[in-house]
Amino acid sequence: MSRKVLLIEDEPNIAEAIRFLLTREGWQVETHGDGMDAVQVIQDAKPDLVILDVMLPGKNGMDILRDLRELEDMQNLPVLMLTARGQSRDREMAENAGVSRFMTKPFSNAEVLTAVRDLHAQASRL
């Protein structure tokens, strides 16, 4: 079964790097660059895992996550959140919004891969 990750990130270069990494790990990577319709896109794509940026045009990553968790079938979807702002307040907010893992940019590739593997493993165990 192919594992699908949805990457919501507006910086094309960062998106490309993550796509490169995960594709080599055997993931099917879909990307989306806008925050406005992100919730709909996630619902439609039904990914195994979501990587979500915080600063997005249209709608902020925190709000997307909050809206997502309101939806019934999205309670347990693993969401890895990436932020470039890196303030402790952001981490708290993300945890309150129901994030699965929170990472600060810049990250090492190994960190991302480990996080994705862990999250996927946790999700599959449920």
Partner: protein, 892 residues
């Protein structure tokens, strides 16, 4: 024989020379060059407008009639100058610290900025000045007629020549006296031209004197013998006239509007007085050195009944020395012109500031703030006043028809203007002097002067013979020339004695009996103790909302550039980042002083009062005056003021608190923005460099592509850091502006080519080269940076199929306005207010800068004294840049 035509040519040539000198001096002063323009020598020479045509011609005439009496007119000013340590120093210091524009302004400012007093002084000055101007016109005409008599062609017509002389002088005064509303009212051009004229008149009189002593009499010894042998050869001076005239000339020297203009208003440096204290008496001594010899030789040589007032001209002519007569004519001409020009300037300042402006301001009342361009109105009022004053002088001359001995008109004017003296001296040295006292004293002196001197002197039409003989209504003790029945005094001495003594007594008594307003007391303390505190304690209270109104008003009076500069520096001094300073009492007071330099103290006070709504006096101010008397009275008002002050302090604390909170929030959000902008490119760099390090078997294509991404992101980081540094330097105000001069056109040329360089030139730029021929004095590189930013923004964001950027420039109300308009869809209305904020980006384009470009532009424009704004509704994105014009900057 010199013909009249030659004479007129020489005159015109001389006037052209004066114009040239005045023009060059103005240019040099504007360019900040010409330190010698402000030297003590020029100052001393400019004081010599005291020596008018009356002294040039009339002194010899006076000497021929009454011997040494003429010298009193020079001795009075000498005494004033050597006593500069007493009075003049104080007068000049006050004049400078209070930005006084005229003698009327000084008096009004001292007595609580009373415009009534200013109007009285102005009327007095105009009444006294008009005959005096007529006298100068008469002297020029008389000297013309001397040459005309000798000219066979006989084309000379007296009336028309006076008219043209008056018109020419008015034009000169208008051109150089009212070119701009300088904040401190200094006119380097006029002053320099006058200094030149004083050299000319001194040289001319000395030349005639030397010719007479060595050329005609044959040396000093024989000259002295001839003097003793002449009809005026013995010491015969009336004691009353001698002392009265010394006193009168001393008083007039200080009070004459034109003397006040050159001595106080045009003074650049208090230290100049030290030099003038000996140099000006020396000038006067040289001017009078040869007066008696010329008079004696004139009496000897000239036929019986010839006019002794013109000996200076006729003696050289009779000896066949035409060139000397010509020189002497130019000397007299110089004396007359310089006096008329400065008098017209000084009087016009008074008339416009104290008569026209208050009336105009009254008509504006009710509209809350001032509308219309006040500067133009002030300038127009001055120009018209000059013309009217000259016309008055001309008509006075035509009506009186000349004829009276020159000296008597001058003395009448002296006696009139000296009525200001008690109010002036009392104001400088006595804190108890009040407005009521000044008004009463001035009126008493004024009425007595008119009644005992002016009207009797104007002939039977004005003062019937019966009144002169028997007094009005037969009241003998009111006879104009023998008040209170005391007869047998010389009329001039009689007037001076009665008017000055009654004026002084009335002034003192009314001052003692009346009670001054707080503002009067403060001004009084400031004037009398000017050396103790040159910083003035005076209270205005205002609220923040009024700053903008004040700014609008100030721009209209000072012009946009200087006004913005003044407000900016005040705001910086207060430590605020906003462009408008808080209306603190200190700021308002400095503003008032700045304005009073243009429109006079009373008007400036009224204008600020209109906006701020009444002045209040602070506790310190009250304490400063409380040591005198009436402490109980002030106690209650102190309490009142104290509570007002407390609430003001509370308000200021609240405002400071809000501001601090805002600042801290802004700083947080700024830091998190910076963090975001730095981390984003770093993420890409790190990810791709790890990919390149850890991944085996990357294709060559992939390697190149990833390396390119790393490179681009590194560049993005560098750009961001550059922008951040630039912005922080600009915001901290530590930026050094590298001012230079160039035309707008070449700055734009450079910006366009550098913004479009290395791109595919999609954007076409439309310009109108003719309207760009505007000289700029600014930091050209910084301005170029702003232009480049706007052009590359248009290039990046303009979404039209064929993007076009139109750049247009205009000169609007003393500002250069440059609009950059593109044909794209523009910036959405909700984002327009944000475009100049840091990290504000419109749309999703991430390739561009970090969103700091326009924020930097805004900071740069603020430093350059200009502005950048977004113009909504122009079809596309439109930005407007406004800058102060070059010459206004240079004139600072």
């Amino acid at each position: 024989m010199a013909t009249l035509n030659v004479l007129i040519l020489v005159c015109l040539g001389y006037v052209v020379l004066l114009f040239g000198v005045a023009f060059a001096a103005d240019r040099m002063a504007a360019a900040g060059r010409g330190k010698w323009l402000r030297s003590p020598l020029i100052y001393t020479l400019s004081l010599s407008i005291y020596c008018t045509a009356w002294t040039f011609y009339g002194a010899v005439g006076n000497a021929a009639r009454s011997g040494l009496e003429f010298v009193t007119i020079y001795l009075g000013p000498t005494l004033v100058m050597v006593s500069w340590w007493w009075g003049l120093r104080k007068l000049v210091r006050i004049g400078r610290s209070q930005r006084v524009t005229s003698i009327a302004d000084l008096i009004s400012s001292r007595y609580g900025k009373s415009n009534t007093l200013a109007v009285c002084v102005t009327i007095l000055a105009v009444l006294g000045g008009t005959p005096y101007i007529a006298l100068q016109l008469q002297s020029i005409t008389l000297s013309f007629s001397i040459f005309a008599e000798a000219d066979p062609s006989g084309l000379y017509r007296e009336g028309s020549s006076v008219f043209w002389v008056a018109a020419g002088l008015a034009m000169f005064a208008i051109l150089f006296g009212t070119r701009n509303l300088d904040a401190n009212e200094r006119h380097h051009g006029v002053v320099t031209a006058i200094a030149l004229e004083s050299v000319v008149k001194l040289f001319a009189l000395l030349a005639v004197g030397i010719f007479v002593v060595w050329g005609v009499a044959g040396g000093i010894g024989p000259m002295m013998d001839r003097i003793d042998a002449s009809e005026i050869g013995q010491w015969n001076v009336d004691a009353g006239r001698w002392t009265t005239f010394i006193f009168l000339s001393a008083a007039a020297f200080v009070c004459l509007p034109r003397m006040f203009q050159v001595m106080v208003v045009e003074n650049d440096d208090e230290g100049h007085l030290r030099t003038a204290a000996w140099a000006f008496p020396l000038y006067l001594l040289l001017m009078s050195l040869f007066v008696v010899p010329i008079a004696v030789i004139g009496l000897d040589l000239m036929p019986e009944g010839s006019n002794p007032d013109l000996f200076v001209l006729t003696v050289p002519l009779s000896q066949g020395n035409d060139w000397l007569a010509m020189l002497s004519f130019i000397g007299g001409f110089s004396s007359a012109t310089s006096m008329v020009i400065v008098t017209a300037m000084a009087l016009s300042t008074m008339v416009s500031n104290h008569l026209v402006m208050p009336i105009w301001l009254n008509m504006q009342e009710g509209s809350g703030s001032v509308s219309g361009d006040v500067r133009n109105i002030v300038l127009l009022a001055r120009r018209v006043s000059i013309a009217v004053i000259m016309a008055l002088g001309y008509f006075y001359y035509s009506l009186s028809g000349g004829g009276t001995a020159l000296a008597s008109i001058g003395l009448v004017a002296f006696a009139g203007i000296s009525q200001i003296l008690p109010a002036l001296v009392g104001g400088l040295f006595w804190r108890g002097a009040t407005r009521t006292g000044a008004l009463v004293g001035l009126s008493v002196g004024f009425v007595l002067w008119i009644y005992t001197l002016l009207l009797p002197g104007m002939g039977a039409a004005w003062m019937p013979e019966t009144v002169l003989q028997n007094g009005p209504f037969g009241l003998g003790w009111l006879r104009p020339q023998a008040l209170f029945g005391i007869e047998g005094i010389d009329p001039m001495v009689h007037t001076v004695m009665w008017s000055m003594s009654l004026n002084t007594i009335a002034f003192c008594v009314a001052s003692l009996l009346s009670f001054p307003s707080p503002l009067e007391r403060l001004q009084g303390a400031q004037f009398v103790n000017v050396f103790d505190h040159s910083a003035a304690p005076r209270g205005w209270t205002g609220s923040v909302a009024q700053s903008e109104d004040l700014m609008i008003m100030t721009q209209r009076i000072l012009g946009a550039g200087p006004a913005q500069e003044f407000f900016q520096s005040e705001a910086e001094q207060q430590g605020g980042r906003s462009r408008l300073p808080e209306p603190t009492p200190g700021f308002l007071e400095r503003l008032e002083r700045e304005l009073s330099g243009s429109v006079g103290a009373a008007t400036a006070h009224a204008m600020i009062g209109q906006i701020v709504g009444g002045s209040s006096v602070s506790v310190e101010d009250l304490l400063a005056v409380a040591d005198e008397s009436a402490q109980m009275l002030e106690y209650s008002s102190q309490l009142e003021v104290k509570s007002a002050e407390l609430s003001r302090t509370a308000r200021q604390l609240r405002e400071a608190n809000t501001k601090l909170t805002q600042v801290s929030e802004q700083k947080d959000s700024f830091l998190s923005q910076v963090s975001h902008e730095l981390r984003t490119p770093m993420t890409s760099i790190r990810a791709f460099s790890e990919i390149m390090r850890d991944t085996q078997g990357l294709s060559a294509e992939e390697q190149t592509r990833y390396a390119a991404i790393i490179h681009d992101e590194a560049l993005r980081l560098t750009r961001l850091l550059d922008d951040l540094l630039d912005l922080s330097v600009l915001e901290s105000g530590q930026v050094n502006l590298n001012m230079g001069d160039d035309s707008l056109r070449s700055v734009l040329d450079r910006a366009v080519s550098s913004a479009l360089a290395g791109t595919d030139q999609q954007l076409s730029v439309r310009r109108s080269l003719i309207s760009e021929r505007i000289p700029l004095h600014t930091d050209l590189d910084r301005l170029g940076q702003v232009f480049i930013n706007l052009i590359s923004n248009a290039q990046k964001y303009c979404d039209a199929a064929e993007p076009v950027l139109t750049i247009s420039a205009h000169d609007v109300g003393g500002q250069v306005v440059i609009d950059f308009t593109d044909n794209g869809s523009g910036i959405p209305p909700e984002a327009q207010s944000m475009v100049f904020e840091k990290f504000a980006r419109v749309g999703v384009d991430k390739v561009g800068g970090a969103g700091l470009g326009l924020a930097i532009c805004r900071e740069i424009m603020q430093r350059l004294g200009g502005e950048i704004s977004y113009l909504p509704g122009q079809g596309g994105a439109a930005f407007r840049i406004s800058l102060p014009l070059a010459y206004r900057q240079a004139a600072q």
